[in-house]
Subunit: 397 residues, 2 copies
């Protein structure tokens, strides 16, 4: 398949929230409680301030368009970023430059599971702000370009019943994905081995809401020794995903909620043939003394029924796509982060996909994502030949 | 290749030390300081007692011959184990029953890096005992059946200069492998990112001594939440190896000691295509700000020059053997632990190796191990046609 024939839907990109995000989604009387974006003149950086706490941007979060020689992890300001990081019109332009049809965007300064709001002194106001955030994300960020985004909500993680309510609220607005933590226990919440999260999981199952676990959403990366090179941490981040998948698999969650769907975001895919084989081996060798029971299924089968995997650049995953499950693989661009292939994703993918039949390429690059996240680029337009041609030229040109 | 034509050399088995291990290797006057094996009548278990501390056996360490339905992790006694766990003659019989020509055996109650002796109140006596242990292992355990074992020494980990001395001492006795910790920092020793271990590494490089990092040799498994199913820990143990390899790769160790060899014991192989690809990607994307420099090599190339991998049962590793490096893969039996394929290793391997050319099977099942560990089954016998036939029938019958 030629680079220009790829149809790309990215299930993991990131939005750097614009300074005015709360303005259109909160009553004026509550605006004073919302996080404010201010410029720190001394350090020449832009920061968010919420309830007296200062949250800087991290440079590696927004390096799209810069050569690797220029990356660093210093905080930064809006002027140093590509406008596509925070401006929806420029974002769509950057998607078009990279031939990307659809995109799901994770939050930045509010953290992956909206943890910022869980630290609000007034939790009721925290919930108001979180809902305003979701409304901004769904109606304004994604809503400005109907058909170009897969909306993704954040949950009020401090209360599973409120989480369930918010899942139901955003579902009515057409949002079918929600973030959660790869390990809530590490965030200080109960772990997934009891029934604490059941109201949330039940609501997600009812509404067909995909739960997205992004690497780093436990707010902890793998611990490395003081003085250890940071490359170790970067290399091993996908292990967070392997741990999260393993936790879920052996917990009761997947058996209690047989239709629940999880997307393992930015976890890569190349480790999966090994992991899927390993869980079956552990089950066969140890199930009798550990009392695990998956009925007439193997653990690998249960994993494939519940998990969607995704990759940026992962030749070993492509080579082993059938050992992984061709219907379980999606693609991500990771714009504007430092691991992203933007703006050369189609060229980089074409090279990695050499020798793969077209129908399998279609699954991995867009049709799996469209099915799993119920994403329909034509939902807001007539799906006729002229529209398809227009959309194609919009994305390509 | 038929099961009966496989030549098997296992680079990871385990010895449950026999009660009389110190008797022939310590002067009589020092025997009182040595660990003693005693029977706890009340619990009907055999334990080691050293300086007042009690060290039980763990059941899963010695379940060879039992069906998975009967495993448990309760302590046990010699009478409950197969004699092959601790009796050298029965061990060789069990190797013959499984068609295994050669075996490298890791220690049990003294821990993987001989940590037991690092806790001695009198470190000088600790060193005497550790040397006696190595002499027992090399001269008695391995020496009773010349050509059937790859000797493996333990290091006095509390002093890198003593470690170097012991490496040189056992090297003269024909021992070319030594255990070390996958993460000494977790054991309370300095990490590998400074120069603390350099005398040890230098001696190993000089003597061509392979450093074996066994999973669990950091005395810590992956941390799991209280109440989490233990299957999670079993599934994720190979991550210890991935972490150890990643630490070594980005540290200066491999670049400072370009001929140093590490064996990653019981770490599996199926995750390697992904990991090898990942380290190159991290290098390409991040090297400029992390200041990593491998000269004209890629990290994956450096890894293949220094690391030997091994697997028990790992179809994804076999399928991806060329992405891993066909010269870097060895096989292990893991006798008598619960993950072992004993006594059906040839049958289980033949199934996994279907479609693999004979010369590649030979590399993975024995010739890589023979080259890397300088193991020669004919070192003590004339290598003529009659001896080969005799050895073959010895192992097979």
């Amino acid at each position: 398949m030629r680079a220009e024939d790829l149809i790309l839907v990215s299930v993991d990109d990131h939005v750097v929230e614009p300074p005015d995000l709360f303005e259109n989604h909160l009553p004026a009387k509550w605006l004073e409680y919302a996080p404010k974006n201010v410029h720190d003149d001394e350090r020449d950086i832009d920061v968010w301030v919420y309830e007296g706490n200062v949250i800087p941007n991290i440079g590696l979060n927004a390096v799209a368009g810069r050569p690797p020689e220029e990356y660093n992890i210093e905080p930064t300001n809006y002027g140093m970023m590509r406008a596509g990081c925070y401006d929806i019109h420029e974002r769509v332009n950057d998607m078009n430059r990279n031939g990307v049809l659809g995109s799901m965007c994770f939050p930045s300064f509010v953290q992956f599971c909206g943890q910022l709001f869980s630290r609000s002194t007034d939790k009721e106001m925290g919930l108001n702000l979180l809902r305003a955030y979701n409304d901004w994300h769904i109606d304004e960020w994604c809503g400005t370009y109907p058909g170009r985004f897969i909306p993704l909500s954040i949950p009020p993680i401090w209360d599973p019943q409120l989480m369930a309510d918010e899942v139901r609220r955003v579902s009515k607005k057409g949002c079918h994905a929600v973030t959660f933590s790869e390990n809530p226990y590490k965030l200080g919440w109960p772990h997934i081995f009891g029934d604490h999260w059941d109201p949330f999981f039940a609501a997600c199952e009812d509404e067909g809401m995909v739960i997205c676990l992004h690497i780093g959403s436990s707010s902890t990366m793998l611990e490395i020794a003081p003085g250890a090179p940071i490359d170790i941490m970067i290399t091993l981040t996908p292990l967070n995903t392997m741990e999260a998948a393993t936790d879920l698999l052996w917990s009761q969650v997947l058996r209690k909620f047989p239709n629940l769907q999880f997307a393992l975001s930015e976890g890569g895919t190349g480790w999966l043939p090994y992991w899927l084989e390993r869980i079956d081996y552990v089950y066969q060798q140890h199930r009798f003394w550990t009392s695990q029971d998956f009925g007439d299924k193997l653990p690998s089968q249960v994993a494939r029924e519940h998990f969607t995997f995704c990759y940026i650049s992962d030749r070993s995953g492509v080579d082993n796509r059938h050992a992984i499950g061709i219907d379980n693989i999606t693609w991500e661009c990771d714009y504007p982060h430092s691991d992203s292939s933007w703006p050369h994703s189609p060229e980089s993918l074409t090279k990695q996909l050499e020798g793969v039949p077209d129908d399998e390429i279609d699954k991995m690059t867009h049709s799996n994502a469209m099915r799993i996240f119920r994403y329909d680029p034509f939902a807001h337009r007539p799906k006729d030949r002229a529209t398809v041609a227009a959309l194609r030229s919009e994305v390509r040109d």
